[in-house]
């Protein structure tokens, strides 16, 4: 693995009263960390990945987050 990969995702309540998609990335050095996506970006990621559930995002490249942005 030479780039970050999505290892999990969860819907979370955002500070501003909207839902956000918290995507957990595993980096090439093994470290894991979250990235919080706004609604539009989160929905676009799910569509890009053909995901019907947030669990379906696991295994996808982090680059899918950027597609169509």
């Amino acid at each position: 693995m030479d780039e970050a990969v999505i290892v999990g995702a969860e819907m979370v309540a955002g500070h501003d009263g909207t839902l956000e998609l918290l995507v957990r990335l595993r980096h090439p050095n093994g470290a894991e960390g979250p990235v919080v996506l706004d609604e539009e970006t989160g929905l676009r990621l799910m569509q890009n990945c053909g995901a019907t559930h947030v669990d379906d995002l696991a295994g996808q490249s982090w680059r899918r987050i950027l597609e169509g942005s």
Binding site: G14, H15, G17, G33, V36
Partner: protein, 552 residues
């Protein structure tokens, strides 16, 4: 002869010590006596069966604009709040050159969601410097104000448009230091900065372009005055938040200043977020630093409408496809019986009852006011439709401008949050009063503290809860004559019923300039509020008192 005596209540004095039955007397705006004493007063408040406490202090608000036409910061005062701290998150209304007003308005509209009329018709913009802003709000204050000055506006004053483009030069940093001194001399209680906020175009606010050297130099000025540095860290990422805690600790130790960061949320998605941050705070306090995490009491509610796609529908790909269409096509799809039938079928054999039935129609938009507060399940039954169909049809009937609320979706676990709020190093705050106007109500967090964490959860005593939002807050912020019922201190007093104090349901209110809408919550269980010795709120109504001050 006293001016006021509040008689026969349970005196909870803000120290955290056990309450005792007694009276509180007021003379010349100050507390004159506490306990049992002789004497008469021109005005007597009967507090039988009630608590007599210091007025509550709200340390994280954005009332900067509202205070120019509403000196009570309604409805904050009726919740027992007698002192608010505006100017958080790097944004204040001064110092600000006239030419920079449009730029700052955009930033404020992004955070506060104020209607444009708030800036064009609601007040006369008479000032540029901090002293001028203070003079403008002091004319009719019913509530006390302890204002922060924003790092972003200080940058904007010194650097102009470059404030949102680059790091500052040494000369510019020196100018910012001089300007900050002016503001502190004019009554600012500290400096706010942000590593998170954006303007209306999504561009980072000016404070985010500062390098650490700049914040260090400004903190040195705060050190000359012993004043607060408030910061919004990258609260969505625990590791970065901890790095910011460490930075704040270094600034606190180096310059001998208090620092505070907000918000700190508990979330099931990252369950170790708040505990790890609090553990780091404990380590830094053990070193002698002062880094106060602010945690709000209220849970986070989520709302959405069909005007734009929401992650609420993420598990329904067909809904997402329809809602991500341009509005005209979206309307066409939502009017197509076949598409709608499939969408409803996607929500399950119960027509969306389990998935959507508990959604609450918010009101304040194009929806009929009579439906506000009702669940989608109730509305669907009345219409004889499945909940998912009712959501679509109701939205179509009102141009899609119908908002639905899913309550308590974040920061909602009382059993987890209660002990954190009771932690001696956790600062109860982050209400955001006066901000997010069109998204949710930011009022009533103090009432919720008592109803949820004292009465229901039992996570802290009445006396501890009062101390958390009065005496301890005053100590953290260096507000020397506030926060306690002690002779000689300012007579900010709230009389409340400990058995009923709470926040009421969230409702839309069209009381912003230009009939602008905001969500508010009324108070429950608050009898009387005195500000600097004058009754500012009693028997469910505001008085004509204008006894609020800029307090330092």
């Amino acid at each position: 002869m006293f001016d006021v005596i509040v008689r026969n209540g349970l005196v909870v004095d803000g120290s955290g010590q056990p309450g005792f039955h007694g009276d509180v007397a007021v003379k010349d705006g100050k507390i004159a006596a506490v306990g049992r004493f002789e004497g008469e007063a021109r005005h007597v408040v009967d507090a039988g069966g009630r608590v007599i406490a210091p007025g509550f202090i709200d340390p994280h608000t954005h009332f900067d604009v509202q205070l120019l036409w509403d000196g009570a910061a309604r409805p904050a005062l009726e919740h027992g709040v007698t002192c608010v701290v505006p100017g958080n998150c790097s944004l204040s209304l001064a110092p600000l050159k006239a030419a920079d007003r449009p730029r700052l308005i955009g930033m404020f509209q992004q955070i506060e969601e104020m209607p444009p009329e708030a800036f064009t018709t609601a007040f006369e913009w008479t000032w540029e410097d901090f002293a001028g802003y203070r003079e403008a709000i002091e004319k009719a204050l019913s509530i006390n104000v302890a204002p922060l000055v924003g790092h972003s506006v200080i940058r904007l004053w010194v650097m102009g448009p470059a404030a949102q483009e680059r790091a500052a030069t040494p000369a510019e940093i020196a100018s910012m230091q001089c300007l900050l001194r002016e503001c502190l001399d004019a009554g600012a209680v500290g400096l706010s900065t942000s590593f998170v906020d954006v303007d209306e175009t999504g561009r980072p606010v000016p404070s985010r372009f500062a390098q650490f050297e700049e914040l260090d130099a400004l903190s040195a000025v705060l050190g000359e005055y012993g004043r607060m540095l408030q910061c919004v860290p990258e609260f969505y990422a625990t590791d970065i938040t901890i790095a910011r805690i460490d930075q704040l600790a270094e600034l606190s130790l180096k310059h001998n200043i208090p620092t505070t960061f907000s918000p700190l949320f508990d979330t099931s998605a990252v369950p170790d977020n708040a505990p790890r941050a609090i553990a780091r705070v404990e380590e830094q306090f053990a070193r002698g630093a002062r880094v106060w995490p602010q945690m709000q009491t209220r849970p986070i509610d989520i709302s959405f409408s069909l005007l734009r796609p929401s992650l609420f529908f993420a598990r329904l790909p067909r809904w997402v496809r329809v809602l991500r269409q341009p509005v005209a096509q979206r309307l066409e799809s939502l009017r197509d019986p076949d598409t709608v039938a499939k969408m409803v079928a996607d929500t399950g054999p119960d027509g969306g009852e389990a998935m959507m039935g508990r959604l609450v129609l918010r009101g304040g938009d194009a929806a009929p006011a009579a439906l506000a507060g009702k669940t989608l399940s109730e509305i669907a039954k009345a219409r004889g439709e499945a909940p998912a169909l009712a959501l679509i049809e109701l939205s179509l009937e009102h141009g899609l401008d119908v908002a639905f609320l899913s309550a308590s979706q974040g920061h909602q676990s009382t059993d987890r949050i209660g002990p954190m709020l009771a932690h001696p190093l956790v600062h109860i705050g982050a209400s955001d009063g006066g901000a997010h106007l069109a998204s949710f109500s930011t009022y009533g967090d103090t009432g919720y503290l008592f109803s949820e964490f004292v009465r229901k959860g039992g996570h802290m005593s009445l006396e501890q809860a009062v101390a958390k939002i009065t005496g301890e807050t005053a100590d953290i912020w260096g507000l020397k004559d506030r926060g306690r019922l002690m002779p000689g201190l300012a007579a900010d007093i709230v009389v409340f019923d400990p058995d009923t104090i709470d926040r009421e349901a969230e409702l839309p209110s069209f009381d912003m300039p230009g009939d602008g809408m905001r969500y508010v919550r009324a108070a429950r269980g608050i009898d009387t509020v005195l500000v600097n010795g004058e009754v500012a709120y009693a028997d469910g109504a505001y008085t004509e008192a204008r006894s609020g001050v800029v307090c330092t």
